[in-house]
Symmetry: C2
Subunit: 381 residues, 2 copies
């Protein structure tokens, strides 16, 4: 007997929450970080290794999967869980964000988005209905409504028009969604940086009654301060008894700040992508292992980390692997980064349970700056 | 107390042999296949995964390692075993074969080979003495003498001049070798396709008294028939109480045929390189998983194989990964291929112990052809 889709709030610390999402494919402790498995694989990781880092849910990309291997083929091969050997929960995005990023290759109408495949130029139309159907074929545990990610910056009028279109698409997505025990569909709150638009978007979608709510349109260049402002203005309008998901976020300090503002779920390509570009996340900030200062170091990335990368290899060896463009470098750094992110989430959950989230965040920010080599603008996760 | 370097012959079946090489870093059951770890990593594999396939020894490349990260840096970081986290035996080649392949970038003299690095163009000189010293710095369990790999085809005179130079270099390599308990140095028999030259090369090196003997200059385009002829003519002149190593071989049928001719050790990039180009080795021959016939297959590569690739994933998924150029495709196929090679070696050892090597080879050749998609010239391992 499959369990129903539920969110149980366990404990709060300030506005930070810890809880449990139960689904047809197992449960997810929140706050949760979802590694990104774009093309039905979390890049450079065996699924069992992803699980070993502590991840309980992964994300798949509708846009990529609909083109290759196609949703129909995934369905024939038993659904995404069996296909990629990840029996746990999977969330899929709607494809909207990615098709809208295809500058010059797509056209947006009220019906949906017509676009040309980046693989072979073939023509496709993605709509609220077809996105929802594709996610059903993929057997996504959590489907997302088809929405328009409002660009940043946008005028109030642009943000409003975009938000209203997203609302119409959300309604169509909900109608197209096939409710099954243990499966859920999340709405997505849009509205740019305009509080009253965010409120309107949230209220309308609460009426549609989704199993969870995402905050969309952030981590698109607005910076951490504005992102936190928008969360502060939006979060009070989201129900306590549903999970909240901040899409595409982010850097560790973004996640800590968002958890303090009541967010439960996150996804981001940073830990995996950085693992393939020699950047490691540690308690002390980011480390670029290609930097020559590591070439003779017998020390691990982080002596206190229990991941295979840190237990078995030196910075000198990791430096060599990345300089030599060896696949093992990507494998080890990806593993370490995902392990780091999951340890961070476990630490946040524990701090909330013990009602010391503020102290945790304070200690985190002191440590995180101490070795940080990352000089780029925060919030662009 | 480190054990001495020894070879104990356990059993013969025809001319096929099974035995045990004991070294300072552990023992090696023979016949043995050595995965190639060119740049201090068996590409796309964690060392523990290499071990899990059954491999007991890996190979490192002096040429690549002397350039990056350099032998001195490997030594400072504790030697190659600690550097790459492979505590077991490691054999290193002399670098000779690879510098001589640098067409246009190298010059051979009696002293050695002057060459320009393929990485940055920097000038280097590799000699019998420096090659031996580099291998010592790397902490190779088994070092190889610095030799000249006679090209194929070569006239008798060319093959003789080359073989005689290799003998002079072998003598210098032996003098430069620092004998330590549990470490060994192997001579390399050259002589092209000329039996009397092979005999002369073998006899001269037996006098120098190496811990093992390699047959070099094969798998360079001569084809399986000539390769087997040369082994047939050379093997009787090698001592029974030392391991014999056929360098750079090969395809599974080459290995089976060479084991029947008394060879104990092999190395080849085929299982690892093929793993990165979508080619899988199976009991039924090679399978190109990029072939469209696999795209809807829910079947594993080989239902009888116990590797993680075959236990957890379908051909359809592997097809998708390779089409999508995903790292996981290289990881899984490399793992499978190494597992297959090690299972083959274990099967050969068992067949020799039970004195049924001929039957094993017969059954192998019947099975191996049944799904083989490989149409390329055999023997070019």
């Amino acid at each position: 007997m499959k369990s129903s889709f539920e969110f149980r709030l366990e404990k709060k610390s300030g506005r930070g929450r810890t809880g449990l999402v139960t689904t047809a494919h197992g449960s997810i402790q929140t706050p949760a970080f979802m590694p990104v498995g774009t093309q039905a694989t979390v890049k450079a990781m065996l699924p069992e290794s992803v699980r070993a880092t502590g991840a309980e849910i992964v994300l798949g990309n509708t846009y990529h999967l609909m083109l290759r291997p196609t949703a129909e083929r995934v369905a024939r091969l038993g659904g995404l869980h069996r296909f990629m050997n990840w029996p746990g929960p999977i969330l899929t995005d709607s494809g909207g964000y990615q098709v809208m990023s295809l500058a010059g290759l797509r056209k947006i109408t009220e019906e949906g988005v017509a676009f040309n495949s980046h693989l072979d130029g073939s023509k496709h139309l993605l709509t609220a209905e077809s996105s929802t159907e594709i996610q059903r074929l993929l057997d996504a545990t959590i489907s997302m409504v088809f929405d328009e990610c409002t660009p940043y910056p946008a005028t109030r009028d642009q943000a409003q028009q975009s938000m209203l279109r997203s609302l119409r698409w959300a309604k169509r997505s909900r109608l197209a969604f096939d409710p099954r025990a243990g499966y859920g569909q999340f709405g997505i709150v849009q509205g740019g940086i305009y509080p009253e638009l965010r409120l309107e978007s949230a209220a309308a979608q609460l009426e549609m009654g989704f199993e969870g709510y995402a905050i969309g349109g952030l981590a698109v260049g607005e910076g951490q301060e504005i992102m936190f402002q928008v969360i502060d203005q939006t979060e009070p309008h989201l129900p306590q008894d549903r999970p909240r998901y901040l899409m595409g976020v982010g850097k560790p300090p973004d996640i800590v700040g968002a958890v303090m503002r009541g967010i439960d779920m996150f996804d981001c390509v940073l830990p995996t992508r950085s693992g393939r570009t020699a950047q490691a996340f540690t308690r002390f900030g980011t480390v670029n292992i290609r930097n020559a200062r590591h070439q003779d170091s017998p020390e691990p990335l982080d002596p206190a980390c229990s991941c295979p990368c840190c237990r078995q290899f030196s910075r000198g060896y990791l430096h060599h692997l990345t300089r030599s463009k060896e696949i093992l470098g990507a494998m080890l750094l990806t593993w370490h980064n995902l392990h780091y992110y999951q340890e961070l989430m476990a630490g946040l959950r524990q701090a909330i349970r013990e009602d010391r989230l503020k102290n945790f965040a304070h200690d985190f920010s002191l440590d995180y700056g101490s070795e940080n080599e990352d000089r780029s603008n925060p919030g662009e996760g």
